[in-house]
């Protein structure tokens, strides 16, 4: 059963999708009790490698947690994988990215306040001026979350649509944070690896990127609306 354990030590090795599908099928039907670990053995290092490439500025430990959570999700929701819609690795990558972004958002909410010593006599620096009127952006937010709490997990098909639309994971993360609330300059700087720039330049870059990403989604809003109305089920 454990035929090619030593042949795939390179994490980026493209394991045969057919073999992966076979092990997965064995796991689902119960005919191969080792199926899940076989899939894990072949895809986990590869997934971590991809996440490291995409989120190179994040700690490896966080990315490993995201990989673990992706496999946990897969174990708990084995029917989430549909062979007609893509590969198992593709699904794991989407889930892994989602987990990384979720952890970034969580971190954003727990940013430590500057100590009172450094704040004494100074005004707290305001966040980047938010010039949004709320009309267009709120509409997009409602459309995507379908009236649900924005902090809920996003529908998988909507997420897949958005990741296709915004292939750069940094753009995707930025967009998620935009519609979830105000994006902070600090999170943006970490995300785009520009934390070495002066704050003014970071603010400027944030504004430029925010406008660019938002416009790209607004342009495709009809397609997004069609997706949501054609398949209203939630994953």
């Amino acid at each position: 059963m454990r035929t090619d354990k030593h042949q795939d030590d390179e994490p980026v090795e493209q394991s045969s999708d057919q073999m992966i599908a076979l092990w997965w099928q064995g796991f689902l039907t119960g005919t191969d009790p080792t199926g899940f670990d076989q899939v894990f053995h072949h895809l986990a290092p590869r997934l971590l490698h991809h996440l490291q490439k995409r989120f190179s500025n994040l700690p490896v430990d966080d990315l490993e947690d995201a990989v673990a959570q992706a496999f946990e999700y897969l174990a708990m929701h084995p029917v989430a994988f549909d062979r007609k819609k893509g590969t198992l690795f593709g699904l794991l990558l989407v889930i892994g990215q989602r987990r990384v972004i979720d952890s970034l958002r969580h971190r954003k909410r727990w940013v430590a306040l500057p100590s009172s010593e450094t704040n004494e006599g100074k005004e707290i620096e305001p966040e980047i001026p938010d010039t949004r009127t709320g009309t267009e952006e709120t509409a997009i937010q409602h459309l995507i979350y379908h009236g649900k709490d924005p902090l809920d997990s996003l529908r998988l098909d909507v997420e897949q649509f958005l990741t296709r639309l915004l292939p750069d994971p940094r753009d995707y993360a930025l967009f998620r944070q935009m519609i979830d609330g105000r994006i902070s300059v600090e999170t943006f700087a970490i995300l785009y690896a520009c934390d070495n720039l002066p704050r003014e330049k970071q603010q400027k870059a944030l504004k430029q990127n925010r406008d660019r990403v938002f416009k790209r989604v607004v342009r495709e809003r009809n397609q997004l609306r069609a997706l949501l109305t054609s398949c209203p089920t939630h994953i």
């Binding site: 390179e10 796991f27 496999f71 084995p78």
Partner: protein, 119 residues
Amino acid sequence: MQSEDSETVATSGQASSECTELIRKRLRGKVVASLSPQPTAPLLAPLLAQWSAGSGQGADQLACLLGVTGDTLNQLALMRLPRATHFDTDSEIIATYLGCDSQQLLAFLRQLQELHTLS
């Protein structure tokens, strides 16, 4: 010179594969840790956790008992419980995969099956 180069390549390849294996072990440990408290997970992880809690034996002791390493125990946690109709065959497959004693594993899996039936 050429042999030195090939030796260097072989050494770096070996180091890379060892590194991947270490990463894999660490990742596996994290997956098992997150699946263990979930009783509905279709894997052995929650049953092993339940067994440990019931018997008062930790993962190290269980690994000793089965004569396997900690990572092999984690691999076992990511196996599916053998089907009742093919219990012996499935247990044999798992034992071959893990490279451990099949009789000892079979006896242990029987205990897990009982635990599963009771829960």
